[in-house]
């Protein structure tokens, strides 16, 4: 009991630190230096309508690359963690509830819609809110739905790894090309900025979004895959 009280007191002091932060905080009325630059140069320097995606993929491209690597790492390590520990002999067998009629037909009907939505979100990353990660997540939830509907179904392990590696390599390749031909690593002026607002505009952003989407989708699928694999002893 005292332990919880001590932890409570400690967090209270931490809270007081946070409180001083909030009290001292007053929302900015004017965009600060960096944000103002992004706002004004989004159109002619990057050519993307969605400033967030512009910053995410071009200006702070290294972060996104690092980020994607985080997911790649998680997928790899989760497969390491779970691959060597097959389920104990007695506990195997797909324990999922036999998927009801409703679920299987619903999946068959919903799957194309989800795929379409995912593709749209990924492709229009630079125009509308959304982008690589969101599209990937939606695709992953599609894969998840398929898994729920038919637990014994196994995705081709090789395909997932191929997609994952290929998109990763392509992303790094684009970055290097940017460094050679365009302004710097991951610069999007590698391709023409195109007509503002059109689908194929803002340089390599759409391609990168698609690549990120594929990679994120593949990674989530592989995480689910390795979770699933612990099933079959």
């Amino acid at each position: 009991m005292i332990r919880n009280a001590l932890i409570g007191l400690m967090l209270f002091i931490l809270g007081s630190a946070f409180l001083t932060l909030t009290m001292g905080f007053e929302p900015a009325t004017e965009l600060n230096r960096t944000a103002a630059y992004y706002a004004t140069h989004a159109q002619e320097e990057v050519g993307a309508q969605n400033v967030v995606t512009a910053v995410l993929i071009t200006w702070r491209g290294l972060d996104t690359l690092g980020e994607v690597t985080v997911l790649f790492l998680t997928a790899a390590i989760v497969s390491l963690v779970l691959s060597r520990s097959k389920a104990p002999k007695g506990a195997s067998g797909s324990g999922f509830l036999p998927s009801g009629e409703l679920l299987t037909t619903g999946t068959k009907m919903l799957l194309p819609l989800i795929a379409l939505l995912g593709a749209y979100v990924m492709a229009n990353g630079h125009l509308t809110p959304g982008g690589g990660f969101q599209g990937g997540a939606i695709l992953a939830s599609g894969a998840l739905l398929m898994l729920l509907a038919d637990p014994s179904r196994r995705f081709g392990h090789k395909i997932i790894h191929r997609v994952e590696s290929a998109s990763g390599l392509a992303f790094v390749g684009l970055g290097l090309l940017g460094m050679l031909f365009a302004g710097g690593f991951l610069d999007n002026k590698l391709l023409p900025l195109g007509q503002f607002g059109a689908l194929f505009s803002a340089g390599i952003i759409p391609i990168v979004s698609v690549l990120i989407g594929l990679k994120v989708g593949a990674e989530f699928a592989s995480i689910l895959e390795s979770l699933e694999e612990t099933e079959d002893a």
Partner: protein, 1040 residues
């Protein structure tokens, strides 16, 4: 050079590329990983060379935009050095981890690549959020790589690590966003220098800095790191300690440089607490990897403190921090990789490495690097740090750092002692590649030592001739011992001949005793046959230290020589059979003394480098007494004055037969030489009204008396001689402290006399030990008939030592009397007069119990001592007799030199007799008179009893009957029982009890504080938050 962002791109590209290979081609994947790491390392080295030649740091922009709006990376000298270290550690780690990696498949290789890429990114990035992303990458890959180890506890360790990284993430993110809000940009260079205030930007920076400090595993809140070190695969632990540690240090340095000098104090405080705390708790560790974990936590703490001191270090900062980081990283990686080969986890299981001598050298090198011993980078860095800290009078910090290093030396050298002396049944791992990895690290260690030597303006230790000779002997190891011994003697004689002409008489005496004397003692080593691996390199290292000591002009050279000598002599003493605890206490006292010296020199130099020894006399008034006190204490640990003497009996008694005379006859003189230099330069000093020189005189007198009394009660012959060395050194110290012409002449007489008869007696007792296989005197007896030559040498030795007229000991006593008549110091004389006759007691005990009295049955058929032990003894006997008849030969030149020093000429030399203001001493006349009387009386006795025949043994005591237990008829055990009843109170081991108390207290706190790490992941999280909150409150208090 090609843009350094390629380092990241190659790492990432290969990591992703590995996915394309199919599962079965693991070896190809390993090749690819090694190739990528090799390429990254090559680029890093390329950059290092370009930048080292003075090129300006290079900025790399990404996404074709200016920094605040895009992420920029910087490649300066520090970054290049750090990345080279990281990539090379990664390369060697992959080699060390190859079996685990191939077993775990290409996924784990990708994780390693990403880890190395993330660390390089951490070092280079100038963007705070990018820092966070790379930090997360490092955290996740470390969590993942903890699975490589076969130890199932690694999973729990990995989980605890992830919990802590979650906490760090929260703190860091909140810190980053509020910094962004306050400064308007995410770039580190845009963070203005802010005071440590606790609102808005101040608090945000505090959160970021505390998150980075948490990643550096600060002492109270690092249970999680220790678990990872213990359970993870050592190949990976090396990366975790060396590479991640270095990367986080560079990050901490970047952030604190941006945050401004106000935060340095916090870093220094946290660093020092972590350094000392971790080292104390490490005292009680018995798992080798957990011990290494504690040590690396301590070293990171030290480096954090050094980062905190960068405002004072100025342009020397990179040199000092670089030296310490490299020493830590290379040593720690090397030790972890060695632990792969040692299969069992106990500290004494490292005895398995004795099978391969190169591994022993590697082990010793890594420990020397960690404690900052010469000739490795840590030594130069520690010296530079001490100079700067003393100049800007931050002495408490210097004291804390030195105490921490000393504690670290305690448990590291205890470990080395266990490895050298204990036995283990788990053999060494057979794999060659692991051994090759360790040897590469060893080569890197020596390379760095040479590099740091060149960079230091005080001169490179490797460039000096004696050091090269010592290393040369390392290469000679496979040769037979006798050949090496010949070479060693020739080297010493050559060095003596080369320098005999150039020295002033006082230093010539020390050269004569240390170098030529060393050569004579080495004659005794011809007795050993076989290869005698591990004797000659340390011996030559010790002699190199001594040679450099006499050569030293500046305080740096003196201190470097002092530590080289200590290192060499430690390995020599450790060779004795039961010498493990004693060698350890020797090392601790010597290092303690050396650190006191270091602080003394640093205080004296006050920024002037190189600081000549002679300039000690110009030290300003208010500092001079402190410098004098520190240096005197440092030298007295080497002459084993009372109070710091407890290491001497064990070290000299347990050393090998021919090592004891070296260590006792020669090494103690280094302390005296130091005192001579000190007193010559600084003369009389008084601190708070107390005249320090008188204090020295008192210490000398007390140690003379206590040493003599304790020697009387010893049963072990070598311990008796060791205690008598303490007494003799006390005499010499008293002589020096008289600060008059004759006092110093007395000291010189003692330097020569003590060397001669102590080496003679030690060799004699060593010879007896070789034959009777025991050092306990009551087990011997009646050896005069069987070992006549040894008896003669001991007889001459004790006559000389006790000061009985015909021999040279009397000369010393005569000069002593004349010296004390000129000084007004009265009371210490009582102790000196008392210790004179007491000396007589233990000398008689030595000769009676070993040679006279009844011969025991088991000793009947022992032969005379080996010829090679007798030869040096006979040389010494001849020298003693010659020196007794013609003392002027040596003393006259020294007397004239002292005349110039003290300005008076008290002794007048008439041919071979000498006259002083008080009396006269005609050695030749004395010798002639005594010999004539002796011979005439001897003639009379022979005339009367010329055909006397030796009586059979038991015709005396038992009138020819044989007693039931004849060995009891030899009266030797507890020989001076009445004296013990009267003076027994002197035996109370006050000093031993004091030092025992200190070590007990330390290990007590260690036992108590290590309970802190209960093993529960949640408790560790609570400790982390508690640590953050306490630092917050203290910093808040500090600011308010």
């Amino acid at each position: 050079m090609v843009s350094s962002i390629l380092i990241l791109a190659i790492g990432l590209g290969t990591a992703f590329g590995l996915g394309l290979l199919n599962r079965r081609r693991a070896v190809l994947a390993l090749g690819l990983t090694l190739g990528a790491l090799g390429l990254m390392a090559a680029m890093a080295v390329g950059w290092l060379i370009v930048l080292a030649q003075g090129a300006a740091p290079v900025e790399i922009y990404t996404a074709g935009a200016e920094p605040p709006f895009a992420i920029n990376l910087r490649m300066g000298l520090m970054e290049a050095g750090a990345i080279t270290l990281i990539t090379l550690t990664g390369l060697l780690a992959v080699l060390a981890l190859r079996t685990a990696l191939t077993r775990m498949g290409r996924g784990s290789m990708a994780v390693v690549l990403v880890l190395i890429m993330a660390l390089s990114g951490l070092v280079m990035t100038r963007d705070v959020f990018n820092l966070f992303v790379f930090l997360e990458l490092m955290a996740i890959s470390t969590g993942g790589l903890a699975l490589l180890s076969k130890d199932i506890r690694a999973i729990a360790a990995g989980f605890k690590y992830l919990i802590i990284s979650q906490l760090v993430t929260i703190l860091l993110l909140v810190g980053i966003i509020f910094t962004y809000h306050a400064t308007g940009s995410l770039n580190i260079d845009d963070i203005p220098e802010t005071a440590m205030g606790f609102s808005g930007l101040g608090l945000a920076l505090f959160l970021i800095l505390i998150a980075v400090v948490l990643e550096l595993k600060p002492f109270p809140a690092n249970g999680w790191a220790l678990d990872v070190y213990t359970a993870a695969h050592p190949g990976f632990s090396a990366v975790f300690s060396a590479a991640s540690g270095t990367a986080m240090l560079v990050v901490a340095d970047k952030l604190v440089k941006a945050a401004g000098p106000d935060w340095f104090a916090m870093f220094t405080l946290l660093g020092l607490i972590s350094f000392i705390g971790a080292n104390i708790v490490a005292l009680r560790q018995d798992n080798d990897r957990r011990l290494l974990g504690y040590s690396s936590v301590g070293q990171l703490g030290l480096l954090l403190a050094v980062i905190g001191q960068q405002d004072v270090l100025g342009e020397g900062y990179l040199y000092v921090a670089g030296g310490l980081v490299l020493s830590h990283a290379v040593a720690k990686a090397g030790l972890f990789w060695m632990s792969i080969m040692v299969k069992a986890r106990g500290l004494s299981d490292w005895a398995a490495i004795r099978v391969r001598p190169p591994l022993v050298i590697a082990f010793a090198t890594f420990l020397a690097m960690l404690t900052g011993l010469p000739p490795f980078p840590g030594f130069y860095a520690k010296w530079e740090l001490a100079q700067v800290l003393a100049t800007t009078d931050r002495l408490p910090i210097l004291a804390a750092i030195l105490i921490g290093t000393l504690i670290e030396a305690v448990y590291l050298f205890r470990w080395f002692g266990m490895a050298m002396k204990r036995e283990t049944d788990t053999p060494l791992g057979p794999k060659q590649i692991d051994c090759m990895v360790v040897l590469i690290t060893l080569a890197a260690a020596f390379g760095l030592g040479a590099l740091w030597g060149d960079l230091s303006e005080n001169g490179n230790l490797f460039a000096t001739v004696p050091m090269l000779a010592a290393l040369f002997f390392l290469a000679l190891e496979p040769m037979p011992a006798k050949l090496k011994n010949g070479l060693a003697i020739m080297a010493l004689v050559y060095w003596f001949a080369a320098h005999a002409g150039v020295y002033d008489p006082m230093r010539l005496i020390f050269l004569l005793v240390m170098i030529l004397g060393g050569a004579v003692i080495l004659l005794a080593s011809f007795n050993e046959d076989g290869r005698r691996v591990g004797f000659y390199p340390p011996a030559m290292l010790m002699y190199a230290g001594l040679a450099l000591l006499l050569e030293a002009q500046s305080t740096f050279e003196f201190f470097a020589a002092w530590e080289v000598m200590t290192l060499g002599s430690y390995f020599l003493i450790l060779r004795g059979k039961q010498s493990e605890p004693h060698a350890l206490s020797y090392m601790i006292f010597s290092l303690g003394g050396a650190f006191v010296l270091l602080s003394g020199f640093a205080l004296a130099a006050d920024g002037v480098t190189p600081f000549p020894l002679s300039a000690l006399s110009l030290v300003p008034e208010q500092v001079a007494p402190w410098v004098f006190a520190l240096l005197a204490v440092g030298f007295m640990t080497k002459t084993a004055s009372v109070g710091v003497h407890i290491w001497l009996p064990g070290a000299h008694a347990e050393a090998e037969t021919d090592v004891s005379p070296m260590v006792s006859g020669i090494l103690l003189k280094a302390g005296l030489y130091g005192l001579v230099v000190l007193l010559l330069a600084m003369g009389r000093q008084s601190l708070h009204g107390v005249d320090l020189v008188n204090v020295l005189a008192w210490i000398g007198a007390i140690s003379a008396f206590v040493g003599a009394v304790l020697a009387v009660f010893q049963e072990d012959a070598k311990r008796l001689l060791a205690y008598s060395s303490i007494s003799q050194m006390g005499y010499a110290l008293f002589g020096l402290a008289l600060m008059n012409h004759l006092g110093w002449l007395l000291a010189v007489m003692f330097v020569i006399n003590h060397y001669v008869y102590k080496s003679m007696l030690f060799l004699a007792v060593g010879g007896v030990y070789k034959r009777t296989h025991t050092k306990l005197m009551y087990k011997m007896g009646g050896l005069i008939t069987l070992m006549p030559f040894t008896f003669v040498s001991v007889l001459v030795g004790i006559i000389a030592m006790s000061g009985v007229p015909p021999l040279s000991g009397f000369g010393g006593r005569w000069i002593f009397y004349n010296a004390i008549l000129e000084t007004d110091l009265r009371l210490p004389l009582v102790l000196i007069f008392m210790s004179g006759p007491v000396g007589f007691l233990y000398l008689f005990r030595l000769i009676h119990t070993i040679f006279l009295g009844q011969l025991k049955d088991e000793n009947h058929q022992i032969k005379e001592a080996p010829i090679w032990l007798l030869v040096p003894q006979m040389i010494f006997v001849a020298f003693l007799i010659g020196f007794a008849i013609v003392p002027g030969l040596v003393l006259q030149r020294v007397d004239r030199f002292l005349g110039t020093v003290f300005g008076d000429q008290p002794l007048i030399w008439h041919g071979r007799a000498v006259e002083s203001a008080f009396g006269n001493w005609n050695p030749v006349a004395i010798m002639v008179v005594i010999v004539v009387i002796f011979v005439t009386l001897f003639g009379i006795l022979i005339a009367k009893n010329h055909d006397a025949v030796k009586v059979k043994q038991f015709n005396i005591v038992f009138s020819a009957e044989r007693p039931y237990r004849p060995e009891t008829t030899h009266f030797a055990w507890n020989f001076f029982a009445p004296y013990r009843r009267a003076m027994g109170f002197m035996e109370m081991p006050l000093v031993t009890r004091f030092w025992g108390g200190v070590s007990e207290a330390l290990s007590g706190t260690a036992e108590f504080t290590r309970k802190l790490y209960s093993g529960n992941g949640q408790t560790y999280a609570v400790q982390v938050i508690l640590f953050v909150v306490t630092v917050y409150l203290i910093a808040l208090g500090g600011v308010a």
